[in-house]
Amino acid sequence: MLNKATENNNVPISGKASSSEKKRNLQFIPRLEVRQNSPEWLRLLIYAFSLLVGCVCAVLVMYCVGVNPTDLIQEISILLFSGTRTVGSVLAQTAPLIIAGLATAAAFRANFWNVGLEGQMIVGTIFASFIAIHDIGPASLRLFLMAFAAMLGGIIWIAPAGFLKLKLGINEVITTLLLNYVAFNLLLHLLFGAWKDPVSGFPHSAQFDLVERLPKIGWENLTYALPLAVSLVLLIWWILSFSRVGYLLSFVSSNPSMAKAVGVPVLGLSITAIIMSGAIGGLTGFAIASGLEFRMTRDFFSGFLFSGVLIAFLGRNHPIGVAVVALFMAMLVLLGQSLQVFYQVPFALIQLIQAIFIICVAASEFFLTYRMHWRN
């Protein structure tokens, strides 16, 4: 950004509509100037403003589908202040969302648009469930084996996309997304076939044994999924802030060609980030299956791709940011569930609000990068 040409600053970009006849007048389309640097306070201000716009849009959308702002405030206050039970369920929702956000952010850091989180979750969970269903390994090590298998599954599912991207330059957005559909059909094949619940005959796997579930931490209904998520956040935060890999990775993500030119092992770093993303993606599925639902269900993954991208994007691909946004996202999800029950509002409303937030924050980037001149 710094070495961009500045001498052409006073050329209007597309002011043809009004500039020729009336000089120094307001234009319909502003002239753009690239900002040379943007101070931290402006960055924060614009970010906060975009969130505010997102919130206003969200309230408007809710009003349109029949949720009054007063009802909304009431629902939110119930969620926040009605005791430890709701706090517990918010935190229980937060854990997988944090891990999903980390998985997405890890790949985004290396400029790899991994939108295959759902596929990686599915295959990771299939691997973990395989261990659980066939009781592989000693009971005391079962959970570790499952987590390990989940990470392996996630890596296996992201590896082709990563390989094709790095080796042949194939767009990873398309490959990772197509692999989601493949994974979903694989899941249905298992759940309607070999892994159908032997007790009820429903298309979900048999319940995991006690040793295959993440143990409870003893406060409300929380399982060790939350400490797992938090320790992942800290681990990745440490890697990014204090280790050599993190330093080089920030170099790669801000200017890949420059990094390559000065001898940073871009390829190796990209591979590391992609594998990490896949592994954490698999772990997301494990955290849900083993920490929340205690079996592999047909739709445990649904919406996580969506949330993962949103959390990574709003959290600026930073682990702490991811954790904070994930907490808000969990509240939003619970809010959506209670709206669904009490106001018959479809859950898609929450996804709509998420999409609006993505667009608002993405649009805010414009005001950071460019300065607008409305006068000619």
Binding site: K4, N8, V65, L178, Q351, Q354, A362, E365, F366
Partner: protein, 310 residues
């Protein structure tokens, strides 16, 4: 065997048509340098518009036009994000897919369009013509959009390669800075390309519900938008090659429900994977085969800011 073949081939065009239409829309966008990853979203919007209009008693053709207009209207958002606000094309595309998934699901649920069968588009010719042995069903059993699709394909090819506006379109996609210096309004061309491309994508989505599935369920497009994006790469941004590729995918999709009927026992869900795996295969093939092929618009996915010229 002959029955099977005729039955199969006669259904191929209606499976291929949405792919052709979507690919044409994407070609228009991408020739102008706009990487449109929102194809799936555009198609969903078109699909829900088609169903909605049909449910409210609009004739099928008008519903399809409505679907195209809905695609254009959705394109306005994308155009504003990409050509106006210069948001990263990948993020904009993904955000639009998410937006469309949520919006269409919400609208369809609220209006009660979900799982509600509609009458759908009828074949263009009467039964007496399509009852002709062998070639009758293949040649005369199709609906109007199928016959219309090659004409559209021809028009798009003609406009892109033979007209001034097509030249401008390609110039903007190849080198926006040079085009700008030559006096072409880059932003305007991209805006128009997205809106017209959006109409094609909307029509493709509308065709899926109005003519093929004749019902709305959430996510009815089922990844066909992503397949269309891959198809455009396979077709090296050429309309006629896109038609050929779409026929290939139409054949695969039309074959899936027929394989089990013939008595091959491949697990159902593995059959349902084949379009996606075939797409992956096609992408790999294109990448290897066309490694040194420069038909991709050079400025695909790049913004144009006059001040950013380096």
């Amino acid at each position: 065997m002959v029955d099977f073949l005729i039955n199969w081939i006669s259904i191929v065009p209606s499976f291929a048509a949405p792919f052709v239409l979507a690919a044409l829309g994407l070609i228009i966008c991408e020739r102008a340098g706009v990487l449109n990853l929102g194809a799936e979203g555009f198609m969903l919007v078109g699909a829900v518009a088609g169903v909605g209009l049909m449910t409210n008693g609009t004739p099928a053709l008008a519903a399809l036009i409505g679907a195209a207009l809905a695609g254009s209207a959705f394109g306005l958002i994308f155009a504003f994000m990409v050509a106006g606000l210069r948001i990263n094309h990948v993020i904009s595309g993904l955000a639009l897919v998410f937006l469309a998934q949520a919006l269409t699901s919400l609208i369809a649920t609220q209006q009660g369009w979900t799982n509600n069968p509609i009458s759908g588009l009828k074949p263009l010719f009467s039964d007496s013509l399509s009852d002709i042995l062998y070639f009758g069903p293949i040649l005369f059993g199709q609906d109007i959009i199928v016959y219309f699709t090659p004409i559209l394909c021809f028009s798009v090819a003609y406009i892109i390669y033979q007209t001034t506006i097509g030249l401008k379109l390609r110039a903007v996609g190849e080198n926006p800075h040079a085009a700008d210096a030559a006096g072409i309004n880059v932003t305007l061309i991209r805006f128009l390309a997205i809106i017209i491309g959006g109409a094609f994508l909307g029509l493709a989505g509308g065709y899926l519900t109005v003519a093929v599935s004749k019902i709305w369920v959430d996510g009815v497009v089922g990844g066909r938008g992503w397949i269309a994006i891959a198809l455009v790469i396979f077709a090296r941004w050429g309309p006629w090659r896109a038609l050929t590729g779409a026929l290939l995918f139409g054949c695969i999709e039309a074959l899936i429900p027929r394989i089990a009927a013939v008595g091959f026992h491949v697990p159902q869900y593995f059959l349902l994977m084949t379009p996606y795996l075939a797409t992956l295969g096609v992408m790999i093939w294109s990448a290897i085969r066309l490694k040194n092929d420069w038909s991709q618009p050079a400025a695909l996915g790049q913004h144009h800011i006059r001040e950013e010229r380096t």
